[in-house]
Amino acid sequence: MSHWIILPIVLPLLSGLLLLMGRSSALLRKRLLSLLSTLMLLPLALYLLYLSSDGDYQVYALGNWAAPYGIVLVLDRLAALMLVLTALLALPAVWYASRGDDARGRHFHALFQFQLMGLNGAFLTGDLFNLFVFFEVLLIASYALLLFGGGRARSRAGLHYVLLNLAGSSLFLIALGVLYGVTGTLNMADLAGKVAAAEASEAGLLHAAALLLLLVFALKAALLPLYFWLPTAYSAASAPVAALFAIMTKVGVYAIVRVYTLIFGAQAGLLANVADGWLWPLALATLLLGAIGALAAGKLRTLVAYLVIVSVGMLLAAVSLHTPEALAGALYYLLHTTLVSGGLFLLAGLIRHHRGPAGDHFITAARMLQQPPLGILFFIGAVAVAGLPPLSGFVGKLVLLTAVPAGEQQAWFWAVVLGSGLITIVALSRAGSRLFWKTDESTPAGHRLDPWQLAPTLLLVAVAPLLLSLFARPVMEYTGAAAAQLLVPEGYVAAVLGSEAPLPATILQGGVQ
């Protein structure tokens, strides 16, 4: 058993604790420690990616308590991919924040590290209750990060965000309670076996629990009836926080992918594919309404937040198809959209900083002194996020469009994806012309660009989609392998439960009267 698997959780925890202890005047040292810790996550995640790339599951039993009694961490291709993505997004975000945004309050870096700990834990855990705990860890860090810097808009958005997620946590616990009451386990691999073997008398309760879980994950992922909190929350957050939040919705998508392939997937007997009937229409509606919302946005940050919703709709529509091609395309698109929307949030922060009192609102204002570099970056980011060639958004969309099986589904998917793509292009060109071209005669605003803020933005907005599109083949091969692994959950179950020793008789008796 390799101890490497738990390091992505332990490393941010330790550095977060160290960061809490330091005096608030020692900001430089805190920045260095936080940057170093985030930087170390990247080679660590890449090593885990290498470990998982041979297709074997790496199982880590916490405290050496064997599954299903103890909590296990499971590393497979998908988990490793998400860890790499988190590290790739977190590094530019914390780098950008270290140029001044972290000085507007206390403990930015500690909260940032705790958030990373929650994210990494949620991707690694193989136990549903542990998933709840890591959700709470990342949520409470995100509450504080969202409010970081203070102000009326943040308090208002934060109140909605916190209250909604608290209600969501209660629903999560109810779903877990029902699952435990019926099956007597919360280990995902064990649950997969128990759910597949469920009798008709238990199927009703399990069905309710499955849909309740879907509701909770959909709230995190911002699916149609549950996305109204997202635009206000994300546009109120400071730029590096919003950039990191680009992966928060993807945690919901990840949980949906994990639970509805492993536990309630095609092999789940009476409960096979329970979520699909809901996911498909809601995801398409989310896609369309997100694009319309982008068109109606009054400032750049809100626009990017709606583009996050568009990407969630795209991903979940592909996920609900359950074909290896669609799932592989969705994972590729997930990499692209997370990095690019994170970068666009950083870019919105830069534009806001350089446009004087007008901020990033779409109103006529003075020309920016730093118009050319910011304008070029915005153009590249818009091309990437709208899915135009030659950047990775185009590759991702193309793969998804060809992955949908012919028939009624294809007609719907093509119509909605292409239609919302067009609306997105209109929204982005409107935003670009308002921000960069529709200027008045007043004195140009802005000051010298900070190259250390420009570099991380450039990395996410331009370099990431370019590299993803240049190396599309190896990345697609990896996501294809990850999708294939996901769709054969028997391997996961066998790896976690292993050649199980016979259960001790006392434990079998306990609990069931």
Binding site: I140, L147, G158, L159, L163, L166, S170, L173, G181, V512
Partner: protein, 116 residues
């Protein structure tokens, strides 16, 4: 006993949801507390109801399931922290927005449906 416990949990959830749907932060926080109490009881009851059953492995005779008790303990701790955070946030929003409305609108310009 099962009927009584489930009715009580149902009543608590109903009260919690009702309070949650009010538009003022104080009832909303009370509703969340009510809801999390109901959820804790629900989790606890998932280990089956019974009297005088120790949660110990290895005893002779009937024992109760220790796992839901451990889950409840975790849920209580997390719920407590979250409630504390929600209360602090509600107080802060109240002082910053000069209103205890969850949308932060002032009492005068409320546009209907505001709970009063």
């Amino acid at each position: 006993m099962e009927l009584l416990v489930s009715l009580l949990i149902g009543l608590m959830v109903a009260c919690g949801v009702y309070l949650l749907l009010r538009a003022r932060t104080f009832p909303v926080v009370m509703g969340l507390i009510m809801l999390s109490y109901a959820v804790n009881l629900f989790l606890f009851a998932m280990g089956r109801l019974g009297a005088e059953l120790p949660a110990l492995v290895g005893l002779q005779g009937q024992t109760s399931d220790p796992v839901p008790q451990a889950l409840v303990l975790t849920a209580i701790v997390i719920g407590f922290a979250m409630t504390a955070f929600a209360v602090t946030l509600a107080l802060r929003a109240n002082s910053e927005l000069d209103s205890d409305h969850v949308d932060g609108v002032a009492d005068g310009d409320e546009t209907g449906g505001g709970g009063q």
